[in-house]
Symmetry: C2
Subunit: 377 residues, 2 copies
């Protein structure tokens, strides 16, 4: 039986493990927190720091293949493990490109992939020399995650909000829609592409909030977006799952925002709404099986279930019974024992071929379910 | 978080655990074999004998609720744990009725539930006094499983094949079809019923081989079957999942064959083909959530993937890539490291609204996939 490892033990790992149980594979997980969502669903849980070189090397010894569920891992260790013969999905080379937002932007430029124009800045001081570039988005080169490490700088007065560290300053695009496409790349280079999803963000938390599949975009925009997503995935030259987030502007132009080299929040709906989910697909890639079928079974909407504002501590669900009674809703709770405002505690997917039904039930879920902690903060 | 226990660690437990990860529940599993399919997917795995009183009591201490994935458990221990305040799903009372084929038949008779006429025999000797009752089916009162403990006695010469132990001798019915209906019963008494499936058996192994959902039966037969299934579930007076297997004879009469008080092979297709799968449904019952939606998303066919004749030992899959390439097929392999002839190694579900497509792909799967061991026997 193939011995596979996952670096990171959050909800993405948990959903990967749920699917792993359909295949003959022995899975190890490494994560710092032994109470993380993945700890109790794998053959071997190893407590360790995925950003630490020695921990990752120790984890990789004896494994046939390693994947990630978060970019923030020690890439040098993965290069070393690759040298020793362990398959790494995605390849450390691709991961290094994506992990650093500066490298990522340079990669798009190098391959003529449309992306917002940008400047590379080393510190906050350099922001001051680029006032004519505003309004812009300041993105930390490394360490950003789930909306953190991203700051909108509209005008000179916002400059103190910027990061005093290497970062990309990206020209603001007049966004009509945000979409994402997931591309699967097999080790033999074959690709499979999922239909695009349309993303609606929470403007305060900058967190993915709602998501519709398929995105309502004109056919011409779809063609562009698919061509761009496939180019990104191919040029990264690595097997894996790649989630390519894109902006569509008012003129119908498509711009790559960023890419994740792993299973992604924008693919959660694929569990119920598509034949092969992104999680199933990654196992197919890892185990060198044929790629799965990305077709839709039905249209879908996905709602992130976030920790409510003002609460922390032991998780309590309010309104859960009501949303479990909606006939076309699938609820996934990640088993996190503690909540905090904006924490991703679960998601719900609605499947229906009626768009009005999707929107109606999504709103019902958002207005009904509250995930609170036992402490007010 | 509710602490739940599953007695038994086979593939049914494994599929229950895959679904448990969608809910806030801490799951323990007890099974003799620490390499069983469920061992690595639960919070706590306890090595123990589920037929042993002390082991089951020890397992139950500290749990809020216990369910089973096989009937062959120590019921006396469950009665004791129930007395101590642990919820048992299904209730020990219902389990005791079903576990013993004699009690089960008497239960049907008591509640005027149509079932083949029968005699209760204590040993092989008594078979000889019932030659005028042949052809009949001899079923061991206890301990039968997956086709074992059932023997067809057509004529006097077959009597030596009968069991020398308490058993039921059941008059043979001229069967037109075998169907099964799964009924979910919540603790508050509410029920939900899945559409009937039509089962096709392997005549040699007497093992469920293929299964179509929905069964192709006339509406009138459907009404009868649903009414009977609901009566069985209600009269058992217990929350849980109940799989009621029935015969349809040439006159369209419906007869209960037997009932399983747990998730069942005849419900595997519900994972992909229905909104709430039987596994999801059992967690809803266990956690006192509302019952799920039993509606079909699409018609389906389920194929059991059995260990090939003539092989044992370390599992090897032949033709797996080919069946993983079929666009509307979902493959579940149970991760059993060793195979033997007829062992349930996995299943595949085809979903399609075209019956011809279901049959075509089921035949392809059956003719393509071979699960062999590394030893010929």
């Amino acid at each position: 039986m193939i011995k596979a490892g996952i670096l990171g033990g959050g909800q993405l790992g948990r959903m990967l493990l749920q699917e792993a149980a359909n295949y003959p594979v022995e899975v190890s997980v490494m994560e710092k927190d032994p109470s993380c969502p993945s700890a109790k669903l794998c053959h071997h849980f190893i407590t360790g720091d995925i950003t630490n070189y020695d921990d990752v090397i120790r984890f990789g010894e004896g494994l046939d293949v390693i994947t990630i569920e978060i970019e923030n891992v020690n890439v040098e260790a993965l290069f070393e493990l690759e040298k020793r013969g362990c398959r790494i999905i995605p390849k450390p080379q691709a991961l290094r490109t994506i992990k650093n937002k500066i490298f990522q932007k340079e990669f798009y430029t190098e391959h003529q992939i449309p992306t917002a124009s940008y400047k590379v800045l080393q510190n906050r001081e350099e922001l001051k020399n680029n006032i004519d570039f505003l309004p812009a988005v300041h993105k930390l080169a490394t360490g950003g995650y789930d909306g953190k490490g991203v700051q909108i700088i509209k005008k000179q007065e916002d400059i103190p909000l910027g990061f005093d560290a290497p970062a990309v300053l990206e020209k603001m695009i007049s966004i009509e829609k945000e979409i994402a496409i997931i591309v699967a790349v097999a080790e033999n280079g074959k690709t499979a592409i999922y239909p695009p999803v349309e993303m609606f963000f929470d403007p305060v938390l900058n967190l993915l909030d709602l998501q519709l599949c398929p995105a309502s975009i004109p056919e011409k925009t779809l063609w562009k977006a698919e061509a761009i997503a496939l180019t990104v995935a191919r040029k990264l030259d690595s097997p894996g799952i790649f989630a390519i987030e894109m902006f569509v502007d008012r003129e119908g132009n498509v711009w790559v925002n960023e890419t994740a080299p792993r299973v992604h929040n924008s693919g959660h709906h694929t569990i119920e709404a598509h034949y092969s989910s992104q999680f199933d697909m990654l196992w197919r890639i890892i185990l060198n099986y044929p790629l799965g079928n990305t077709s839709m079974i039905m249209s879908s909407m996905m709602v992130n279930l976030l920790g409510a504002e003002g609460y922390a501590g032991e998780t309590q669900y309010e309104g859960l019974e009501e949303i479990l009674s909606i006939p076309d809703v699938f609820v996934h709770l990640y088993g996190k024992t503690d909540t905090k405002p904006g924490r991703k505690m679960g998601h719900a997917t609605i499947i229906s071929n009626e768009k009005q039904e999707l929107i109606h039930q999504a709103n019902k879920i958002k207005s009904t379910l509250r995930i609170k902690g036992n402490k007010t903060i």
